[in-house]
């Protein structure tokens, strides 16, 4: 899976491209782990390029919920495709993970 990383002033944007299944989610997991270990605690994950997300993909976000909270970091998801948004919604993850779609709001969220 291809994961593009863009360094913004307040946060880092990750843009995974492709399905997030059992195999590719490991790559995303490693990527996030590396950023967290490097002290990068503000992450925006742009899911525009993810047409499908399996339960293992969801598991990646689930596994970091506590850690971001403990480190007082922020994990934001944006541009979820309808399919992925549905899965998030059904599992109840939309209640736990911040999902923001507009760019300005994202910027404001990380500033605030």
């Amino acid at each position: 899976m291809e994961i593009n990383e863009i360094q913004e002033s307040e946060f880092v944007t990750l843009k995974p491209v492709g399905d997030l299944d059992a195999n590719s989610s490991i790559e995303l997991d490693i990527h996030i782990r590396r950023l967290l270990d490097a002290g990068q605690i503000n992450l925006l994950i742009d899911c525009a390029g993810v047409p499908y997300m399996s339960s293992a993909g969801l598991g990646v976000f689930v596994s970091y919920l506590d850690e971001f909270k403990d480190q007082k970091g922020k994990l934001v998801l944006s541009n979820l495709t309808p399919n992925v948004a549905e899965v998030f919604d059904l599992l109840g993850l939309s209640k736990l993970v911040t999902i923001i779609n507009s760019k300005e709001e994202v910027a404001n969220f990380f500033k605030g």
Binding site: A22, S54, G59, L91, G92, K95, L96
Partner: protein, 701 residues
Amino acid sequence: MHKFISSNLLLIGLKPKIVKGIIIATAITTWLVVVLYHILQFGALTIFEPSDNGIYPTLPGYRIAFALFLLSNSFFIARSFQKIEKLDVITLLWKLFMIGMGGITLILLTIILHNTTQSYTLARYLDPIFFSVGLYAFLLYFLSAIFIFRRFVLYQRTKRRVRGWTVYLGLSGIALLAGVFPIPSSFTPLYYFFTGIYILLILLLSANVRWIAYLNFNQKLRALGLFSLVVVVGITYLIASFRFPLQLDIPLGILPGLFFLEIIIIFPFIYSVFAILVLFFNLPTSSIFELNSLEIASYSKINQAIQSNLDFTEIMNSLLDASVLAGNARAGWLEMISEKNGQSELFIRKRIDLADIKEIKQDQALTEKVLKEQKYFLVKNMRKHKLFRNNASRYKCMLVVPIMSSSQTYGAIYIVNELPNSFEDVTIQSISNFAEQAGIALENAKLVKRSIEMERYQEQLKIAKDVQQQLLPNTLPTTRAISFNAQSENASEVGGDYFDVLESNPGRFKVAIGDVSGKGTTAAFYMAEIKGIFHALSRTDMDPISFMNTSNQALVACMQKGFFVTLTYLDIDTSKKEVKMVRAGHCPAFYYSSVEDKICMMREGTLGLGIVNGSIFKSYNQDPQVIHYQPGDMMLLYTDGIIEARNEEGEEFGYHRLKNIFTAHRNQESEELTTSIVNGVKDFTHSDLEDDYTVLAIKFM
């Protein structure tokens, strides 16, 4: 020929021991008879003058006795050396030499005795005995030589060699007869002709020196020495045979078998000379031959080490030994790529210390270099090489050969020498062969190990599958009021889907359908966990919300991070015709209301289980959805394997297709609905499903 006679004697019913006895007895008797004749002839009668045709007159019967003496002793000596099974060149030559020396000692002894004998009369009777002893020593030495060399000539015997040898024996036999029964001197040209043929045959036989190739340098040297001694002893005998009879006043010409005695010395001498020459010229190349055979031995040693599953260190040890040997190198070592950090590490070293290795390498990553280039690296002269010029150790030539297989890199062999330019192409080739062999072998060993592990893993998976099959219910209850039907399949050996129906009280049914995130063994274990929770809690009168809270608490405590469970829980009371449902992150159920003839999706729900801890989970609690059903209503529960099943175009089966099938079969029995759904999904994907799937239909009556 002796064999022929022996076997004939055997045929007339004599045991080998008796045959041997007869031969020995004949040999001794005939010798004694000959000694007696000599005493009579030379001591008592002294008839020495030859007649006109050059033939000495002899006592009657002497010629026959002498012929028998020669024949029986030939058989006796031939027999003594008949049973040489293993060709031990050195031992045989040593034996021959000792026989020769023994004879010479005897002859010297008789000379001393002859010289000290004062009485003339006594000497007349003693001298013929001395003469006979000398004659026997001569005969014994050369016949022994012939029959020992026979073993050499017939080494790796072929039909042609055996035939050549038989002809040689035949000709010798003729020579014996011709000597004993004299032919007048007018036949001399015939003797020359015969001798010519005889020598020619011996020359052909003497070319058989193949055994030399199998001796190592040391053995060749010793064989060379022994052959020379054998020749020296032979020459001593020749000299003695001319001078000793003269001293005893016995004319040699009187011996009836003289021609035979002359002719039998030819073969031992010619063969010895041949052997000496071949041995001598083979000496310088023998070390190369030895090296080659050592190389072959090393090959098989490496192979054996690998095949017998010896430990890795042993394989590497033989590889290094073989390489140092083949390269004729002063020292060597072996570096392996560590599985932990991918760095090369010194594994074993031979005749070199760590400081020297460090000095030679000059901090170059040579192992990595040869593995990357997949080619050996040779520094012919380190003093002239720009990278190794500073090397202050005594080593000036270095060869590095990679150890790798087609798919894996293992390490490299290093060999070093003090002399520049000391590793030839042949050496490099040999060591590359070793390394390749070792690489293939290591790869094979790894594959074998992996396949054994896989087999064990498969076995365990099979057990896990059996266990899991037992975790899911075989049949679901069907009563007048309600019927359940479910179909479930795992994509891999073990899956993460779970469903169960339990009648806690009469008319009271608890239903669970769930899915563990991910697939495979881990998922299967969590699934077993859920079953435990479900069976424990559903028997109590716990309300659905508490059921979920308690389940979540139990799962959060035991599950790995990133894993979670989605679960839908139903509490059905058929007496009240009431269904209470809580959906925890699971796929929403479809409900068919027969009164409204409408299918709706029941999306209300809470978080999946095992994601957040108790208090947060509780904060998202929602009241259960309550349905008061009518007969003919139907409910459809399923896992995401159904919705997410994809066709060749990557399109998902989705909710709408599921709803369509439900609509089509809404008035049928629960079993028909589940079967139609499974078939519908399979028709859609045209292949086996990638995920686990479960469908569960409930028909209310």
